[in-house]
């Protein structure tokens, strides 16, 4: 049952990433050229509704439907180095491949098979980060 729920949420997300063209390399390129409002609109409106949703979840103390416990959103640890440095590295990759982790999976389903190279190397990149994690500033 739970499996079906999460799978269905994923299907909705995958359809959205394709239909709103967030999965398109062209849209990411255009975003970094500031040539269109589209991507800023998608992220901005997701943020607008998302912050309202989180405000009301906290205000109304909404409980999770599967576990019955209050919904909590984990705070990120303090600091800035890992966020800035990791963010810059991520951004470089985003501009090259035109795909962040969600769209990677959506593109695979849509039949753009070279994306499998991106998914494998992203998994490898995650692995290498795990190896050198303790040597990096955080």
């Amino acid at each position: 049952m739970k499996t079906v729920v999460f799978f269905s949420i994923g299907v909705l997300f995958g359809i959205t990433l394709y239909m709103s063209e967030v999965s398109s390399w062209f849209r990411i390129y255009e975003m970094f050229q500031f040539d269109s409002f589209h991507m800023y609109g998608v992220i901005g409106s997701a943020l607008f509704f998302g912050s309202l949703i989180i405000f009301f979840i906290k205000k109304l103390k909404i409980k999770s439907i599967l576990e019955g416990t209050p919904i909590t959103i984990a705070e990120k640890e303090k600091g800035w180095k890992r966020y800035l440095l990791g963010g810059v590295i991520f951004g470089c990759g985003w501009a090259l491949s035109g795909a962040c982790p969600g769209p990677m999976f959506s593109l695979l389903g849509a039949g753009f098979f070279p994306i499998i190279i991106v998914i494998i190397s992203a998994t490898f990149g995650t692995f290498i980060y795990g190896l050198v994690q303790s040597k990096l500033p955080h």
């Binding site: 062209f26 609109g41 409106s45």
Partner: protein
């Protein structure tokens, strides 16, 4: 309605549905973070023997792998059964620029053939862009503790300063590569 849904979705509709996805994941007691799946994959493949980052029971993350599987199926459904045209209507300025760089299907296809058609498997330049891009996304997402879904959408929606710093980083890196590196690669 059908007409609306089969056209490329306008930004406000796409953004609204993404916020519904965020709500559904919070409502089910989980969180919105796609790059965590890459960490889970490392753990599944025995990465825990090499690094503590992967020492956790990956079965506790099965729900997120199901989300990712759903995203794959969602991409399949959207491209085959919903979208009636795959061309992405990017701005004319971007089209002109990309065509000048040799990406001739700009404005005509969903993703550049040079990177996302089968010919990419045997083209050194394309392979290099895909391998480097993927590596940096995977490395950077885990270093920053999240990707676009975890930081730009759920973190910023929760008004978290670390997420704002990460998103500023995304743009510093993205603008640098887009303006100074991509022109050298094509």
């Amino acid at each position: 309605m059908i007409e609306f849904l089969t056209q490329p979705w306008p930004w406000y509709f796409g953004g609204a549905v993404i916020s519904i996805v965020l709500f559904l994941l919070l409502w089910t007691g989980k969180n919105f973070g796609m790059s965590s799946n890459l960490r889970t994959l490392c753990s599944m493949m025995g990465g825990g023997k090499k690094a503590s980052l992967f020492q956790f029971d990956w079965r506790t993350q099965q729900w997120n792998l199901m989300v990712a599987l759903g995203v794959i199926v969602g991409g399949f459904v959207a491209s085959n059964y919903i979208a009636n045209d795959s061309a992405v209507a990017i701005s004319q300025k971007t089209i002109d620029q990309l065509v000048a760089m040799g990406i001739e299907d700009a404005g005509k296809s969903f993703a550049p053939k040079m990177l996302f058609s089968h010919s990419a498997f045997t083209d050194f330049n394309s392979l290099m862009i895909l391998v480097m891009g993927g590596f940096l996304v995977g490395f950077g997402a885990r270093y920053a503790g999240g990707c676009t879904s975890g930081h730009a959408i759920s973190g910023l929606s929760n008004l978290q300063l670390p997420s704002l710093i990460a998103v500023v980083g995304f743009f510093i890196g993205g603008l640098f590569v887009n303006h100074f590196i991509l022109p050298l690669l094509f």
